[in-house]
C-alpha cells in the first residue's frame, strides 16, 4: 500500500511550517480578509435558515448511516452507474488510482486533460503522476489556475488560492499569460482567465473531475461549483474520469435535499451554488460518451475501522471549519502540509497516513470548538483531535521524551495530596532565582515557550489551601455543616482581614 496525502509525509511539523507563514504579512492579511468575508456571508444565509440545526442533524445522520453500510451503498452505486453506461474502478491507494487514470488517458490516446478542482486528485498527486506519464493536466478552476501558473499549492479546500490577493494574481497572469498590460480589475483578470481557458475547453478531449456526492440508488455523480468552468469540463470532453473518495456516497437522490442546503451555505455563503451538475452514466449525443468513476480508499477504510474517529469521514469538504478556525486564521493552509488544511485537515491527513506521519497536526488546535459549531454534518473535531493526540502519545512518544516525562511526573503529583502540596511548596522555593519584582520573564526548558511572549506571575506566598487551613484554624468551632449564622459570622471575619 502506498497511501499518500499530497506531500504530507515529507512536510515539516506544523509549528515549523507555520514560522515563515507568520512572517508573511501579505499572506496573513489576505487570509484574514478572505475568511472574514466568507464567514460574514455564511452567517447571513445560515441564520435565515430556520431549520439549520435540524438540517445539520439530518446531514450527520445520513452520513453516519451511509458509513455504517458503506460496502452496500458502494456496490449499489457501482451497479447503478454501470447499468447507466459508466465504468467503475476501485483503487486501494494513491498509486493505484493514478495508474488507473493514466492508463485510461492513454487508452483514449490523450496527451492532455482538463481538470475541475478536485482535492482528491491533489491528495493522490495526480497531476505529478500524469506529468510523469507525459500527460499535461490543465487546471480550470480559477483558483487552481492561479496556483498552477504560480507554482503554488492549495491553501484552502474550497478556495485554494485564498492566500493570494488580486494584485498577486495579476503578476502571475501577466507573466504566465504574457499579458504585460493586464490590470488588477477583477473583470479584467477573469476575462484573461476565460480567454486562457476557453481554448483548452474546446480543444482537450478528456476531462477529470472529483465528486461532491455519489448517489447510490441512481449511480449519479454530483458536482457543485460557482464558476461554470466545471460545467465546461463535465460537458465538452468526449471522456470524463471522476475520482471520488469512498465516503462521498449517499444513499438516495432525496438526500440531496439536505446536502444541497448545507453545502453551499457552509462553503461559500450562498443559498445555492450557481452550478449544480448531476449526471448519470452516458447519454448518446449528449456530453461525454465515455464515463469512468475511480473509487478511492487510500486510508479511508482505516479511519472507518476506528469507532472513535470514523465521523471524520462524514466531511462534505465545505471548508467552514477552516474559515472559523483561529489557528488557520493566523497561518493559512500551507502550514498543514497537504491540500487538506484547517481543523478537518488536522484530523484527515494524519489518519489517512495511519498516524505514521503528520503527527503534529492533531496538536495544531486550541480545542476552541469553533469548528464543531459550524460543521454542517456535526463532526466533533475537538473530540477527534483529542483522540488522535492520545494515539500519538501512546503509539509514537518515547517514554524518555521530555514532555512525556513531565506529564508522567505531573500525574504522579496529582494522584497524591501529599505530593501535590509538597510540589506547591517546592515550586515556591525553586522559582526564587527566576523571580524579579513578583514576575517571571524568562523560564527555562519547555516553559520558556510561555515566557517568550508572556510574563508569568510568581507563585504567591500562600496557596488557596494554605489560606483555607489557616482560616479554619481561626474559626475552629465552625463545622462544615454549620448553620447560616455561623457562616455569616465567618464571612464577616474574612471581610475584616
Amino acid at each position: 500500500m502506498t497511501i499518500r496525502v499530497g506531500e504530507a509525509e515529507h512536510a515539516p511539523s506544523f509549528q515549523k511550517a507555520a514560522l515563515p507563514l507568520l512572517e508573511d504579512a501579505q499572506l496573513r492579511r489576505n487570509v484574514r480578509h478572505a475568511t472574514d468575508v466568507i464567514q460574514r456571508k455564511r452567517g447571513i444565509v445560515v441564520h435565515e435558515t430556520e431549520d439549520w440545526q435540524e438540517l445539520r442533524t439530518a446531514g450527520s445522520a445520513i452520513k453516519a448511516h451511509t458509513l455504517r453500510y458503506l460496502d452496500q451503498y458502494l456496490l449499489q452505486f457501482e451497479e447503478a452507474c454501470t447499468a447507466a453506461g459508466g465504468y467503475v474502478h476501485w483503487a486501494g491507494d494513491a498509486d493505484e488510482a493514478n495508474r488507473i487514470i493514466v492508463d485510461l488517458v492513454k487508452q483514449y490516446s490523450g496527451s492532455e486533460v482538463i481538470k475541475i478542482k478536485t482535492m482528491t486528485s491533489e491528495e493522490i498527486g495526480l497531476n505529478e503522476a500524469l506529468e510523469q506519464a507525459g500527460i499535461r493536466a490543465h487546471e480550470t478552476d480559477l483558483a487552481e489556475v492561479i496556483n498552477q501558473l504560480g507554482g503554488d499549492t492549495s491553501s484552502h479546500i474550497v478556495a485554494p488560492a485564498l492566500h493570494k490577493n488580486r494584485s498577486q494574481v495579476r503578476e502571475i497572469f501577466r507573466e504566465r499569460m504574457n499579458l504585460p498590460g493586464l490590470s488588477d480589475d477583477p473583470e479584467a483578470l477573469t476575462a484573461a482567465a476565460r480567454h486562457y481557458l476557453r481554448e483548452k475547453f474546446l480543444r482537450v478531449k478528456i476531462g477529470v473531475s472529483g465528486a461532491n456526492f455519489l448517489v447510490a440508488e441512481a449511480g449519479s455523480v454530483c458536482i457543485v461549483e460557482s464558476e461554470g468552468n466545471g460545467r465546461m469540463c463535465l460537458t465538452l470532453p468526449e471522456v470524463l474520469i471522476s475520482i471520488a473518495g469512498i465516503e462521498k456516497v449517499i444513499p438516495r437522490m432525496r438526500d440531496m435535499e439536505v446536502f444541497l442546503q448545507l453545502l453551499p451555505r457552509s462553503a461559500t455563503g450562498e443559498r445555492m451554488n450557481p452550478y449544480n451538475s448531476l449526471w448519470t452514466g452516458v447519454r448518446a449525443g449528449d456530453g461525454p460518451q465515455h464515463f469512468h468513476v475511480v473509487l478511492l480508499d487510500n486510508g479511508r477504510t482505516g479511519i472507518l475501522a476506528d469507532p472513535e474517529s470514523r465521523q471524520t469521514l462524514q466531511c462534505i469538504r465545505c471548508g467552514a471549519c477552516l474559515n472559523t478556525c483561529p489557528v488557520y486564521r493566523q497561518t493559512g493552509g500551507h502550514a498543514y502540509g497537504s491540500n487538506y488544511s484547517g481543523p478537518i485537515g488536522a484530523i484527515v491527513t494524519p489518519q489517512l497516513l495511519q498516524m505514521r506521519q503528520a503527527q503534529s497536526l492533531p496538536f495544531a488546535s486550541t480545542l476552541c470548538g469553533a469548528c464543531y459549531e459550524v460543521c454542517p454534518v456535526k463532526i466533533n473535531i475537538p473530540e477527534v483531535l483529542i483522540h488522535l493526540r492520545g494515539r500519538v502519545v501512546r503509539e509514537q512518544k518515547s517514554a524518555l521524551d521530555p514532555e512525556a516525562l513531565a506529564m508522567k511526573t505531573a500525574a504522579a503529583i496529582f494522584t497524591s495530596r501529599r505530593r501535590f502540596e509538597a510540589a506547591q511548596r517546592l515550586g515556591r522555593i525553586a522559582q526564587w532565582p527566576m523571580v524579579s519584582h513578583g514576575w517571571m520573564r524568562n523560564l527555562p526548558g519547555l516553559l520558556g515557550n510561555w515566557t517568550r511572549v508572556r510574563d508569568l506571575r510568581a507563585l504567591p506566598k500562600q496557596t488557596f489551601r494554605e489560606w483555607w487551613k489557616k482560616r479554619a484554624k481561626h474559626a475552629p468551632n465552625t463545622p462544615a455543616s454549620a448553620p447560616l449564622r455561623a457562616a455569616r459570622k465567618l464571612s464577616e471575619d474574612i471581610g475584616r482581614d
Binding site: Q15, A18, P326, V327, Q330, F363, A364, S365, T366, L367, C368, G369, A370, Y372, E383, I386, R389, G390, R391, V393, R394, E403, A404, M407, K408, A410, A411, I413, F414, T415, R417, F420, Q424, G427, W439, R441, L446, L447, N449, W450, R452, V453, R454, D455, L456, R457, L459, P460, T463, F464, E466, W468, A480, A482, L484, A487, L490, S491, G495, R496
Partner: protein, 251 residues
Amino acid sequence: MRVSLFITCYNDTLFPATGQAVVRLLERLGHTVEFEPEQTCCGQMHYNTGYQREAMPLMRRFVDIYKDAEAICIPSSSCVAMIRDHYPKMAAESADPGLIRTVDALLPRVYELTELLVKRLGVEDVGAYFPHRVTYHASCHSQRSLHLGDLPLRLLRNVRGIDLVDLPNIDRCCGFGGTFAIKMGDISAAMLADKMKDVENTGAEVITAVDTSCLMHIFGGLHRQRGGVRMAHIAEILAPTESDAAEGARA
C-alpha cells in the same frame, strides 16, 4: 446550601485570590462552603494533551471525593467541560458499572460558578460593587461547551459602579489552549496579539472571565507590554461590596 468547592489545581497554586473570592461571595449569599483538601486536578491537561491513561486516576479521584456532595462549584469552565464532556466517556471505557453510575449521578451536581449562581441559586444580582472599567472575555469552553450564553454578563451588569464594555470578537479564541500555548508557542503568540488589540481597544482597566487560565495568558501578554490592564476572575468582581470599599478606605 452546602457547596463543595473544587478550586482547580492552577487556581489553588497560582491564583488563590480567585478561590478566596468564591468563598466570600458564596458565604455572603448565605451558603456554606466546604473545601476537601484531598482534591488536586480534574485531569484536563493530561486528557487534552493525549495522556488519557494518566487522566484516568485523576477522574476516579475526583469522583471519589465528590460523589456525595450536594453541589460542586468550580470556578473554571474548562475544568467543568472536562468533567461533563469527557468523564462519561472515560467511565464507559473503564467498563466499571459502579463508576459509570456514579459519574452519571454526579454530573448534574457539577456547576461552573456563574451557572451555580444563576441557574441553581437563582441570583443575578449578588449585591457586588466594583467601580472599574471592565471587559469580559468569553472563554471557548464557557461558550461552546457549557453554553453559558450571557449568564456571566447578566451577573456583571448588576454590579454597582461597574463600567462594562463589550470586547470585540468575543467569540474568538485567545490562543491559550492549555499545552497549545507551549507546544505551538508562535501561533499562540499570534492569536494572543489579536486578542490584546481587542482588549486594549476597549479602554478597560480590568479584563475578566470565568477562566483564570485564559486570563493568565492574555494578562501575561499585556503585562509583558506594561499594558496597564489587570486581570480579575469574575468571582473577584462579584465578591466585593460597597461596605468593603468603605472599610478599605477607613483602613
